[in-house]
């Protein structure tokens, strides 16, 4: 059985390393701890990719089971969580492919678009613009906006900016190069900003009709 080494460049051992070692030694309660620790994140990632709650629940179960069954293949040169995310992303894409009746789905598709690679709308946003919406309206707006991004941009933004993975971890989880992650992240951020500007820009005061001053 291979021994898990601490993540390169870190002096302190990540707490997951000891848990993974215990699981490998046959302690299922240690895996219970790992599942509790990451089930919320995995559900969120799967739901963002599949955009379907039932699929997300299935993906989460399948990903944790697959990780458990393949734990001996985990080399420990990355974080356990990054490895788990990679499994969940692949399971989610497979699920999407099934739903789209065999159409190939990958994070490489639709990335040639030039939309949003250069900012066009320079209107400033209202201060705390989210306060102009109730929670349900805001959630709907944010969901629709992020769902409108090409898959390859959406997943990079999600892992890097929402889930807080580093650029290197995002690259590893998605099987992409670091420059590819950086390029997609910039375009995802710019496209989201551009689209949200339609909702969040400052409302301009109504323009008085010509001659109104003279009439007043």
């Amino acid at each position: 059985m291979s021994t898990i080494q601490p993540v390169a460049g870190q002096n302190e051992q990540h707490p997951d390393v000891a848990l993974v070692e215990r699981v490998r030694a046959g302690d299922l309660s240690a895996y219970d701890t790992l599942v509790r620790k990451y089930e919320r994140q995995l559900f969120r990632i799967s739901q963002h990719i599949t955009q379907n709650r039932e699929d997300a629940e299935d993906v989460m179960q399948d990903a944790f089971l697959k990780a458990y069954e393949k734990l001996d293949q985990f080399q420990g040169n990355s974080k356990f969580y990054t490895w788990l995310v990679r499994i969940a992303v692949n399971e989610s894409l497979m699920r999407l492919r099934k739903r789209r009746t065999g159409k190939v789905v990958s994070i490489d598709e639709n990335i040639e678009t030039e939309e949003g690679s250069v900012p066009r709308d320079f209107a400033d946003w209202a201060p705390n613009p989210e306060q102009n919406y109730n929670q349900a309206e805001l959630a709907e707006t944010l969901k629709k906006t992020i769902q409108g991004l090409p898959e390859g941009f959406r997943v990079v933004f999600l892992l890097r900016d929402v889930e807080g993975l580093s650029t290197e971890e995002t690259a590893e989880a998605l099987g992409l190069s670091v420059p590819a992650v950086k390029s997609r992240l910039l375009r995802a951020r710019l496209q989201l900003r551009e689209r949200l500007t339609r909702f969040f820009k400052k409302k301009m005061p109504p323009v008085a009709p010509r001659g109104s001053e003279a009439e007043a």
Binding site: E39, F43, M60, L65, Y68, E130, I146, K182, T197
Partner: protein, 84 residues
Amino acid sequence: MTCKEFLAILDDVIDESISPGMRSEIEVHLRKCGHCEVVFNTVRKTIEIYRCHELYEFPAEVSESLHNAIMDRCRAAKGDSQSS
């Protein structure tokens, strides 16, 4: 610094992975360029909004049953591997 140059390093600026020398160059550019200042502030706000609002909450009513289902499947897999 031009707007194009600023855009090329926008992600590094947002992720605060730039040198102090570059930071002052950027500050000079942002003071002069309203468009880049808006882009910078609104990209930062975009990230903050998505980070602060959990769009897909883990459904509390099914979280325990989902968790148990995962562990049951792992237990069964462990049993299979030990009996084979």
